[in-house]
């Protein structure tokens, strides 16, 4: 499946004008803060309406300005892990994960929640509320919640930015393992080159509102190695 994204959007003086196509796998949108990576993610999820463009997952068109097609977010089947996770504070971890399983029977729902809690290594934390979980645990609940309705694509906005550096590597490995197991394509936004190296099959290099380069991670990095600065957090 090819993920095709072409969006244009003007917000004040900022102009987003990106186009890229990525194969299934993990794609990293890599670039400095304010280069339009999150805006791109929001356009793919349908949380931001572009001025014009086209978004498709394989044959399934989600947005197309030329034919006035704009699928509402709830029908896109795209999981989203928000930068600060946006876990519902009044619901337990299990209820957060179950939130997108409203159409399932209660038996199926609880089985699926159990399966996901085990997948992210939080089997004993079902009844904890978000404020009783560490940052890394919250991130994994958010990932489990996004995966629960079996989305066609998962978007992750700076998934490791709020995580202590000594658990970051472990969480990267876990994300990679979950990706291999679920085979869900993922697009993650990051300004940390380590995320790109450890996780991404494809990288989209962002400049100010544009995609400078797209390609397999190894190729892009070897061509660009000298020029890529270590973007400050």
């Amino acid at each position: 499946m090819i993920i095709a994204v072409a969006v244009q959007r003007t917000l004040g003086s900022f102009r987003l004008h990106v186009a890229f196509a990525a194969p299934a796998g993990i794609t990293a949108l890599f670039g400095p803060s304010g280069s339009g990576k999150t805006l791109t993610l929001r356009s793919v999820a349908g949380l931001l309406r572009p001025d014009r463009g086209h978004v498709a997952l394989g044959q399934r068109v989600l947005y197309d300005s030329a034919s006035s097609l704009d699928l509402p977010t709830r029908d896109r089947r795209i999981g989203y892990v928000f930068q600060h996770y946006a876990l519902f504070p009044h619901l337990s971890a299990a209820a957060n994960i179950a939130y997108g399983l409203h159409d399932a029977s209660s038996t199926d729902r609880s089985l699926r929640v159990k399966e996901l809690l085990e997948m992210v290594g939080l089997a004993g934390f079902a009844e904890r509320h978000p404020h009783e979980l560490s940052g890394g645990q919250q991130q994994r609940v958010a990932l489990a919640r996004a995966l629960a309705p079996r989305p066609a694509l998962v978007l992750l906005d700076e998934p490791f930015a709020a995580i202590d550096s000594f658990v970051r590597d472990h969480l990267r490995e876990q994300l990679r393992a979950i990706h291999v197991r679920t085979e869900v394509p993922m697009i993650l936004v990051t300004h940390d080159i380590a995320d790109v190296r450890r996780l991404a099959d494809t990288v989209v290099l962002y400049g100010h509102g544009v995609a400078l380069e797209v390609g397999p991670t190894a190729d892009v990095l070897s061509r660009r190695e000298v020029q890529i600065p270590a973007y400050p957090g």
Binding site: A45, G46, L47, P72, T73, R74, D75, R76, R77, I78, G79, Y80, F82, H84, A86, L87, F88, P89, H90, Y99, G100, H102, D103, H129, P130, H131, R145, A146, A148, P149
Partner: protein, 219 residues
């Protein structure tokens, strides 16, 4: 002590608050979340009853809903009688005077809520109304509960607009606040005192209960 005015005040305030919730909570959400034509005009209209003297409010309602008013034929057709000097008029007056307080507080509650929660719910395939019930309202509950308490408090103390629109008919439209005024005017100070104390105690008890419910957030 004649308890009829107190009972009427409670009934009027309860119904006006229920109407206030039905109209005010959705309106507060719209004002907090959506931009639409006429939004600024509605914002002003919402605040206006809070700043106008209640007599002006009551007079405005009288002109609009009274015998010669443009809405009177519709009221007559629907209910078979005019609105003015009926218990329903007391409810209308209390509703118009009190609902703005609910709207302002609930709107504040919605505005403080990070929209990422609602966006997350959307990405999980839920419909807007379900999201409102399961995410927005529980998370903005403190603001909504504060609004309900303010609305009830304002409604149970309503005086000026009620007097203009519903009048002072003992046993029919005479609310507690009007009965107190009436008693003082007539020099029945003992009656005024007991009624004032009773109104204070009842209103205080209801507000106390509402505050407890408002604090009942589960996280």
């Amino acid at each position: 002590m004649d308890l009829a005015p107190l009972a009427l005040s409670l009934r009027v305030a309860a119904v006006a608050t229920a109407l206030g919730i039905a109209v005010g909570v959705p309106l507060a959400w719209l004002l907090a979340r959506k931009s639409f034509p006429g939004r600024d005009v509605i914002s002003v209209l919402v605040v206006l009853p809070m700043v106008l003297p209640p007599t002006v409010l009551g007079y405005g309602l009288l002109v609009l809903l009274g015998r010669q008013g443009p809405v009177d034929p519709a009221i007559q057709a629907l209910f078979g009688e005019g609105l003015v000097f009926t218990p329903a008029a007391a409810i209308v007056a209390a509703f118009v005077a009190a609902t703005p307080f609910l709207i302002r507080a609930a709107q504040g509650g919605f505005e403080q809520l990070d929209i990422a929660y609602e966006e997350a719910a959307r990405t999980l395939g839920r419909r807007e109304f379900a999201i409102f019930l399961t995410v927005t309202a529980p998370l903005a509950w403190r603001g909504i509960a504060a609004g309900i308490a303010l609305c009830f408090a304002r409604a149970i103390g309503e005086f000026g607009a009620t007097l203009m629109l519903a009048g002072n008919i003992p046993g029919r439209t005479q609310t507690a606040s009007i009965a107190i005024y009436d008693a003082v005017q007539a020099g029945r100070l003992e009656q005024a005192t007991s009624m004032a104390l009773a109104l204070g105690i009842v209103a205080g008890a209801v507000l106390f209960l509402l505050a407890r419910v408002g604090r009942g957030a589960r996280w």
